[in-house]
């Protein structure tokens, strides 16, 4: 069996006195699409943000690709990472946000080439070629010179996916990627994600799109009140949930 891409052991996270995560245990295998569902405030997004260290966990242990998030192990000692080292680790993990967060002062092409050129020091010409290919893949070849404000929400989110892919990540995190979209634009973003999953990308997707979870997900995780309540193959969890809380949630959203 291969080493897991993400492994969480009793991960806790508090904001002041509020406990957002109360001991999350989860394993994500390489090439797997894990879909996390649950009511708002259940800690799904917080957990996602802990994986690339946008939030620091309060206790527990969290590994990505065999390395402890935020620490470097030397012998039996753990050294907290410096900002520069944290940035280096993040470069290998792509993230897509609910609100797209494209850089409004840059064109679509510049949005995609910025990190490869500035962080990975890839020559500008090669970065532009890669970016053009990625933008074509997400169906936006004609929009390279547009500014984000000139695009629809669905187009912006597809640029955001291309921007993350340009760093050649080993893991992609999606934080409610379709929640800020008009209903008729959801499909085009899900299609890109489906394509990515078919390509074997390891993905963790926080979403309310149950259809996507059922059809694309390999592993479904239901979270509530900061912990994993139930997990398993999507079809099985949807068809016969064991936990009353899962049943109650699914009866409201399906």
């Amino acid at each position: 069996m291969t080493a897991p891409m993400v492994q969480a052991e009793r991960v806790r996270k508090s904001f002041g006195r509020v406990e957002a995560l109360r001991g999350v245990d989860l394993t994500v295998q390489p090439g797997e699409v894990t879909v996390i569902i649950g009511p708002s405030g259940s800690g799904k997004s917080t957990f996602l943000r802990c994986i690339n260290h946008l939030e620091q966990i309060s206790s527990g242990r969290l590994w990505v690709d065999g390395e402890l998030v935020g620490y470097r192990q030397e012998g039996d000692r753990l050294h907290e990472l410096r900002e520069r080292e944290v940035a280096g680790r993040r470069a290998a993990i792509g993230m897509v946000f609910q609100r797209f967060n494209l850089f409004p002062h840059m064109t679509v092409l510049q949005n995609v080439t910025e990190a490869p050129v500035r962080v990975k020091r890839i020559p500008a010409g090669r970065a532009r070629a890669t970016a053009s290919a990625l933008l074509e893949r997400v169906g936006l070849a004609g929009k390279v010179d547009s500014y984000p404000a000139e695009l629809s929400g669905g187009q912006q989110q597809r640029v955001a996916i291309a921007r993350a892919l340009a760093m050649e990540p080993k893991l992609m995190l999606f934080d409610e990627p379709t929640s800020a979209l008009d209903p008729e634009l959801v499909g085009e973003v899900l299609a890109v994600m489906r394509d990515l999953a078919a390509d074997g990308m390891t993905m963790i997707v926080v979403t309310h799109e149950m259809g996507f979870a059922r059809e694309v997900g390999h592993h479904l995780v239901f979270m509530d009140e900061g912990a994993v309540v139930e997990e398993g193959p999507p079809r099985q969890v949807f068809a016969e949930p064991h936990e009353p809380r899962t049943r109650a949630f699914l009866s409201k959203v399906l």
Partner: protein
């Protein structure tokens, strides 16, 4: 049958009356000033382009531009320090802003020009260990009127610019920083490439005001004998007693400088207003 109806706009009688009163008042001021014999238009014309005045004008522009440019650099540095997680940096920046905003510029100028040379007698830049002196001078020689004026104005301006830049940085959506971080960008790179360019929209307009203000504040340097516009004017009228014509000359040049600067500000705002169009849209939400 004639169906045309004449629409009569509202008559603003109040505006006509008050406008007339203002015109009369200004006319009376000009007439009485001219009659007094102290405002001699020929003298104004004579001195407007005199070599001494033009020298002063050049000195004013040089001092204002150098002080403002240095103030902007200091402002960016201290704003970033102020917002830093590093407590020492944040505290140092806070103390700097507190001190330089909290004391009058004129006092600061006197302090640099008169205070510093009496406290510290000389200035030496020496490399440690190898004892090579790069620069050495008596403080009174180093602290020329220009140097004192430049240091005073630039450091004072840095404190104001720090607050302007800080407001600009805080105006940028935190999601922008997260997106940059998630791409593996370091804090410094994020600041330089993502945050500051977007902060410009908020930073540029008040910076234009600061520069216009700086053009006029340079006149304080006349108090420490720096030969800028006001000093040159007063040098002249202290010998020929044409006080009012020379003050008019100085004022005309200040008006020219600030008018040009206002035009420049307008162009800059148009240039930087474009970049953040989606930022503008977000604001409406």
């Amino acid at each position: 049958m004639d169906t045309a109806v004449r629409a009569i706009p509202v008559r603003h009688w109040g505006r006509w009356v008050s406008g007339g009163a203002v015109v009369l008042l200004v006319a009376w001021l000009v007439w009485s000033a001219a009659r007094s014999g102290f405002v001699d238009a020929a003298q104004v014309r004579h001195y407007l382009f005199s070599p001494l005045i033009l020298q002063g004008l050049r000195a004013t522009v040089i001092l204002a531009v150098l002080s403002q440019a240095t103030g902007i650099v200091l402002g960016v540095a201290f704003a970033v320090m102020r917002l830093s997680k590093n407590a020492v940096a944040s505290w140092v920046a806070g103390a700097y802003i507190w001190f330089f905003r909290g004391t009058p510029v004129l006092v600061q100028l006197f302090f640099w020009y008169n205070g510093v040379p009496s406290v510290w007698k000389s200035i030496d830049v020496t490399l440690p260990f190898i004892h090579t002196t790069l620069y050495s001078a008596r403080m009174v020689d180093f602290m020329t009127p220009f140097m004192a004026a430049f240091l005073g104005l630039a450091l004072n301006e840095g404190a104001y610019m720090a607050e302007i830049v800080r407001a600009g940085i805080l105006s940028v959506d935190p999601g922008q920083v997260e997106a940059a971080q998630a791409l593996g960008m370091t804090p410094l790179l994020t600041m330089r490439r993502i945050v500051l360019p977007q902060a410009m929209r908020v930073i540029v307009p008040p910076t234009g005001n600061e520069f216009i203000s700086m053009l006029k504040t340079t006149s304080l340097a006349s108090a420490i004998t720096y030969g800028e516009l006001l000093r040159r004017s007063s040098d002249i009228y202290s010998t020929n007693l044409q006080v009012v014509p020379l003050l008019v000359v100085a004022s005309l040049w200040y008006l020219v400088l600030t008018t040009v600067a206002s035009g420049g500000q307008y162009l800059l705002e148009r240039r930087f207003g474009r970049a953040g169009s989606s930022v503008r849209r977000r604001r409406r939400v």
